[in-house]
């Protein structure tokens, strides 16, 4: 099946929209993805036909909603090739997932332990660990960057020791698009007995991760990054770890017995899913995975790489263009500045042309500090973008630069 982008674009209602009089060119995909009708329809279908609170409900629509919710978990399990569906915890997103793990490790670590965090991380994979370390005294060591925006693998090896208990790396950097060598990071960390959490938020719309093959301990993602709804995400955790971790939130669903004297917790995954979950979110998440798998991740990757190369080559011709992040393996993200121009100015003018890019620090201040800059313009492409959009983007960028210089 050839990749027919014009046909695919018809799946996304928002792409018909105009912004400031121009057709929307949405290059802010790394911040959040757009949603195909299939996903939107699944939400409407839920609310119109079988909205109900789940679990323990005897009546039919409660059962239907429960089945749909649990089917979504199964779809996620299959997509990520996870052994046991109980290892999939539905959360409100990557940030929630990571905080859940950080809370779980608070009492498992102490002041002689070290955790390694890459300098490439999103704030969501830094701040929870800083908060945890304040409680248990564990030390954070930073895996530094190279000038190409890759992780310094030798430094990583040097930092690893018997003291290392946990390693945190994102699968793909949201600021630069770098695809990290997580497979070897995981196996090296395991040699030292350290567990590894991979933040897959930025990877999941581009790469289908096989979690059993990776042998990763924890993996997280957010549905909104992969054509799914807001307010839902997942945490994969190996059963051995999840069983060791205390529950994160208390409430309905996550208990088996409650008295004021003693409460016993439910088994996995419910132990970590307190309260009424984002039922419709889970259903939309599952549908988004169906949609992407139906397109095929190979086709997506192939096409997005084509867009990336096309855009990179065109942008390099613009005088003063400086790209941050030139990793050998990267997703379709271009983070750049032009001369001394401020990213905010460029973003503002591009918006006037109907083009959506992200500007600033991209929740990755350490990366910006590394390059000694206050921010970048980030154009991130998805499989529903086109070369024509890139042409228009480059032309508009040149006009913006002319206006601002």
């Amino acid at each position: 099946m050839a990749f027919d982008v014009n046909k695919i674009r018809e799946d996304f209602p928002i792409l018909k929209r105009k912004v400031n009089g121009y057709p929307l060119v949405y290059f802010d995909n790394a911040a959040t993805s757009q949603k195909p009708s299939k996903v939107i329809d699944s939400i409407v279908d839920y609310y119109s036909n079988y909205n109900s609170n789940i679990h323990r409900g005897v009546h039919s629509i409660s059962q239907e909603a429960t089945d749909a919710y649990e089917d979504a978990r199964k779809k996620i399990q299959e997509h990520f090739n996870v052994k046991d569906s109980n290892e999939i915890i539905l959360t409100s997103g990557t940030t929630h997932s990571i905080n859940l793990v950080a809370n779980g490790f608070t009492n498992l670590l102490s002041k002689d332990d070290e955790i390694l965090i890459s300098e490439l991380e999103h704030h969501s994979n830094i701040v929870p660990w800083q908060m945890m370390c304040e409680k248990n005294g564990a030390k954070i060591k930073v895996i530094p960057l190279t000038s190409k925006g890759e992780l310094n693998y030798d430094s990583f090896l040097n930092l690893l020791s018997k003291k290392t208990k946990l390693v945190f790396v994102n699968h793909v950097s949201n600021a630069l698009g770098t695809i990290n060598p997580i497979k070897s990071i995981i196996s090296k960390a395991h040699e030292f007995g350290a567990a590894v959490l991979i933040d897959g938020a930025q990877a999941s719309s581009h790469i289908k991760a096989d979690l059993q093959e990776l042998n990763v301990d924890f993996y997280t993602t957010s549905a909104h990054k992969l054509c799914g709804p807001t307010g839902i995400g997942m945490l994969f955790g190996k059963k051995e770890w999840l069983n060791k971790m205390p529950p994160y939130q208390g409430g309905g669903e996550m208990i088996s017995e409650v008295t004021f004297e003693k409460t016993t917790y439910a088994g996995l995954p419910h132990k970590f899913e307190a309260g009424t979950p984002n039922i419709v979110g889970a259903i939309g998440f599952g549908m988004a995975l169906d949609y992407l798998n139906n397109l095929g991740f190979d086709s997506i990757e192939f096409y997005e790489t084509e867009l990336l190369n096309y855009a990179t080559n065109k942008l390099k011709e613009i005088p003063g263009f400086k790209m941050y992040g030139e990793a050998k393996h990267k997703t379709s993200v271009i983070s750049f500045n032009i001369g001394e121009l401020h990213s905010y100015d460029i973003g503002t003018i591009l918006d006037k042309f109907g083009i959506a890019v992200r500007t600033g620090q991209h929740c990755a201040q350490p990366v910006m500090d590394y390059f000694g800059i206050s921010g970048t313009v980030r154009a991130s492409f998805s499989f529903y973008n086109t070369k024509e959009e890139i042409d228009y983007f480059c032309k508009s960028l040149e006009r913006a630069v002319a206006m601002l210089s």
Binding site: I54, H55, R56, G57, V58, Q63, T66, D67, E70
Partner: protein, 138 residues
């Protein structure tokens, strides 16, 4: 009778009913006539999870056959248990392990087979098969 014969007999009985009400009334009748578990066996370790009403299932080997007994607070659950016990009680572990479960669909209980249903049917079947496996090894 072997398992297949019992299953066929049950399917035949249920096929006489015209609507769900008759079917449920019959199940409720069955529930009332179930051979109850001995009170001393109504212990937590015999509780089946995944059911909204408490449901106990006990198994013991009599010669080479497994004898199941059950009880529940809810009469419908008891009825479901009664159907299962008619099929699986007094059979050899090996036959239980190998038994297929199409009759559940045929008697209109398929809707109860989803793992999320709160009636415990699936958990009961799992537990029955689990007992059979355990006793088969011995």
């Amino acid at each position: 009778m072997n398992i297949i014969e019992v299953q066929n007999e049950i399917v035949e009985e249920f096929s006489l009913f015209e609507d769900w009400m008759q079917r449920y009334e019959y199940m409720i009748e069955l529930g009332k006539s179930i051979e109850l578990i001995d009170p001393s066996n109504k212990v937590d370790s015999n509780l089946i999870k995944g059911c909204q009403s408490k449901l106990w299932l006990h198994a013991e080997l009599n010669d080479d056959k497994l004898i199941f007994k059950a009880d529940s607070e809810a009469i419908i659950t008891k009825g479901i248990a009664a159907v299962l016990l008619r099929v699986f009680s007094n059979q050899t572990p090996k036959n239980i392990i190998e038994a297929n479960l199409e009759f559940i669909d045929k008697i209109g209980l398929k809707e109860h087979l989803s793992p999320t249903r709160a009636n415990g049917l699936l958990s009961m079947i799992k537990q029955i098969k689990y007992y059979a496996l355990a006793f088969n090894k011995n």
